[in-house]
């Protein structure tokens, strides 16, 4: 266990005032510089966005119940799937773990009082809110039906979408990402507690570092791309639209140069959370610590070089296709190593199946499926058949929802006692997790089959192919079960807030620094600056 310098007992001084009580009033939240309060404000907005994106998902699945029209016309459907994608990617998944768990836990895990730049942190929150406002404005006005990918020349010419404010939303949101990335990198370099070398940092911190590298380097490319798209649409500068002398494939290169690393922004934090969960709930140090730490960095770097696997049928050169395919296979190796290492951590451990661990094991199951189905898509020949079909939709939902979202929920449950000072009901928490797990698989497993049988994505109707009806219906039923599961999860967590029982400092027998301080922590995180003498997952032998 990383030790505090003078205290050997595991219960810290009881007089420390929790950060909630330190200051009161709405102003003390809106103008706070405390990373913990900022994290909670982000959490509120991200969960709200998740509800919005989730409602849109249900609308999609309801419309696809029958081959023809069920509840909406084609243009409305196209707006619904586009909005679902934009909200989930930019308002939920990209910020999710870094802005909530990262902001809350990073200073605690490195033994610091706060992030390196608290004001920048608050500013990045308000930039997120501003971007979200532009996004919500677009949705409430004409809406957007270009798909979240904005391919040209459809996005530069469609009259059915309010494209410009949505592009501005994306542009503004990007700055929130960049500022968070800068804050994390500087914090990790400069504010680690004495004795915490890089190889004594928790794996969640390594994951935040790798993610921040991508946030800083990739996001500007998206910003520039969206701005150029705006100029094309408004002033016809002739860059992406052939009608004005531009090249639609150029747009795809620019767009995916960000959007592929973006998926690593989404999943690498998840990997960090999962490492923490496997170590704590096996009561054992993680297997292959260095491999996991360095593989995150490796994925971040290599992940910049394989964007073209989204473009195998686009008209790019076959040589480009071959290089992108090869690099996509290379990046699968560090990912596979993590999966093996997590599994090996269980070996000869002392396993506790509390709710966070249920999420971690679900992650292993779902992410492995997502990752393995990526191998189909990375294959140049197979992708010719599977590209733009439901196989792709199923693949990315397995990694984004089964991966990122389940890791996020696992982390929320794991650190819930630390953040709120409350304990949730573990039995009902487990039921919620399992319901979500079952609902998720029922929703998306049939979609692999729909895809390989030839059902394209972004299709409003499948009237001429009624043979797809049964699989679509299973998928819709699954979505309803998934929704019920999520509502149960929310209910369990909200219910805990009303319980009188106080959570102890270390309910899960964790070994990282955040468990050495009260639940919830005081404003300055630690009464005394921690001093680190060993690795993050070392623990004393059981008696």
């Amino acid at each position: 266990m990383t030790q505090l310098s003078t205290h050997s007992s595991s219960s810290p001084e009881p007089q420390a005032l929790s950060f909630y009580k330190a200051k009161r009033g709405i102003g003390s939240w809106l103008y706070t510089l405390d990373h913990k309060r900022i994290a909670l404000m982000y959490l509120f907005f991200i969960l709200g966005s998740f509800l919005l994106g989730g409602v849109y998902a249900l609308l999609i699945r309801l419309e696809l119940w029958s081959p023809g029209r069920d509840i909406m016309d084609a243009t409305t459907y196209n707006k619904v799937f586009s909005t679902h994608g934009l909200v989930m990617v930019f308002l939920v998944l990209i910020p999710s773990i870094p802005a909530t768990l990262g902001n809350f836990l990073l200073p605690l895990q490195v033994g610091a009082k706060d992030l390196a730049f608290p004001r920048l942190n608050l500013f990045s929150f308000y930039v997120y809110v501003l971007g979200a406002i532009f996004g919500v404005y677009t949705i409430l006005s004409k809406g957007i039906e270009t798909g979240w990918t904005f391919y040209t020349p459809y996005s530069t010419s469609t009259a059915d979408s309010h494209v410009v404010p949505m592009l501005l939303a994306g542009f503004i949101l990007g700055f929130s990402s960049i500022f968070t990335g800068i804050n994390f990198i500087v914090t990790i370099h400069k504010l680690r507690a004495p004795g915490m070398t890089f190889y004594r940092m928790p794996l969640f911190v390594w994951a935040m570092y790798a993610t921040s590298m991508i946030l800083i380097l990739a996001t500007p490319v998206l910003g520039i791309t969206l701005l150029l798209l705006l100029f094309e649409r408004v002033w016809h500068i002739g860059i992406f639209d052939p009608a004005f002398g531009g090249d639609p494939i150029l747009f795809q290169h620019f767009f995916w140069f960000y959007s592929h690393p973006a998926v690593y922004i989404m999943i690498v934090p998840g990997f960090g959370v999962i490492s923490e969960l496997f170590a704590t709930f096996s009561r054992k140090p993680i297997f292959g610590y260095r491999a996991i730490a360095l593989s995150s960095i490796g994925i971040a770097i290599i992940g910049f070089a394989l964007w073209g696997h989204h473009m195998f049928t686009s008209g790019q050169s076959p040589l480009s296709g071959m290089i992108f395919s090869f690099l996509t296979y290379i990046v699968a190796i560090p990912t596979a190593i993590k999966v093996f290492n997590w599994t090996a951590t269980l070996y000869k451990g002392r396993i506790h199946l509390d709710t966070p661990m249920i999420y971690a094991l679900s992650f292993l199951f779902l992410f492995t499926i997502g990752g393995l189905t990526g191998i189909f898509l990375a294959n140049l020949s197979v992708d010719l058949h599977l590209h733009d079909t439901y196989f792709v939709v199923a693949h990315f939902h397995y990694v984004m929802v089964g991966g990122t979202l389940f890791a996020f929920l696992g982390g929320i449950h794991y650190w819930w006692p630390k953040m709120t000072g409350k304990l949730f009901n573990i039995t009902w928490g487990n039921v919620g997790a399992l319901l979500a797990f079952v609902g998720f698989n029922l929703t998306f497993m049939p979609q692999f089959i729909l895809g390989s049988r030839g059902m394209p994505r972004r299709y409003y109707s499948y009237q001429e192919f009624p043979q797809f009806t049964e699989l679509h219906r299973w998928s819709t039923v699954g979505a309803v079960i998934l929704a019920i599961g999520f509502f149960l999860v929310a209910g369990v967590l909200i219910q805990s807030l009303f319980s009188k029982k106080k959570a102890p400092a270390n309910p899960w027998e964790g070994t990282t620094l955040e468990w050495q301080t009260p639940s919830p922590p005081p404003v300055e995180n630690f009464i005394q600056e921690p001093f680190v003498t060993q690795g993050p997952y070392e623990r004393p032998e059981e008696a």
Binding site: Y154, I286, G349, N379, E541
Partner: protein, 339 residues
Amino acid sequence: MNSSFLLPEVASTSAQRVDEPFYFVLWVALFFFFAVMICCALFVWRYHHRRNKKAALHVTHNTTLEVIWTLIPLALLVVIAVMGYRGYLDLSIPPHNAMTLNLTAQKWQWTLSYPNTSVEVSSVLKPELGNRRLPFVVPVNRPIVLVMNSTDVLHSFFVPAFRIKQDVLPGRYTKIWFTPIKIGSYPIKCAEYCGTNHSGMLAEIQVVSEEDFQRWLHNENAKSIAENNKVVPPEVRGKRIFEGKGACMACHAVASKDKQPAPEIGPRLFQVFGRTEQVYIPATNTKTSVKVDENYLRESIEDPNAKQVVGFAPQMPTFKGVLSDAEINDLIAYIKTLK
């Protein structure tokens, strides 16, 4: 080969290039998935804290194991990558003796033309055929290459039974080739989102014997030449433009609802001439009613968003510069016949 549980029927030589790596990857994936999951399940059961009282804290490394589980997956992935390359290169390079056909994509129909003939087939659903479409006829066992172009946005030509897909771009030509091996009809689907009726942008490829194909091509060509040479009334010329170059049929139905059910993307033109329409005029932000006459029809073709029929999205493109005055006259003549 017939369809399997996961894949559609096999109707081209290309399919083998896709199905082979597909099934290889499937077996590799299933193996690793079950290997990991079974280990997990075993460990969770065997080392659950009620069954295992003491964790082995020192078990954090095993260099041999880690090297093995890095190198074996790497080797497998290299094999899989190379399987993909061979198929992909094969599918990118049409054979020398391939028959070239020209494909045009536009919102929301496909048009196939056969060089050295006047034969042009469009994929729109025709009410006079009981709301069916004419198929794209091709001969079996002969390599065929499609030179493709879009007149508006990105589309993608996808034939699941052939296992082929290629984006169709405006401002550029892309190619795709196949050799059909089984007589029959196979769906063509658009696989790049292109707006309102993306899911309705479908066509049918019909593979026939070589003699049947030659006979069909010869007859169609003769019919087409005869049509082109005939002095035809403007209404008939207008119908050809409506269903061909103008692609009007993609959005505007021309028969009654029971004869021609349609997604109503644009106003139904059945009995439109002389009708009174409610329109919205964006220039003055007012609503008014107009009587559909020759002038209104011409304005709708050249400046479609000047007056927008209430209840429809303003998404009709302009045909000014695309259709000549004579062609617009012919279209108006045809529309007047839609009783």
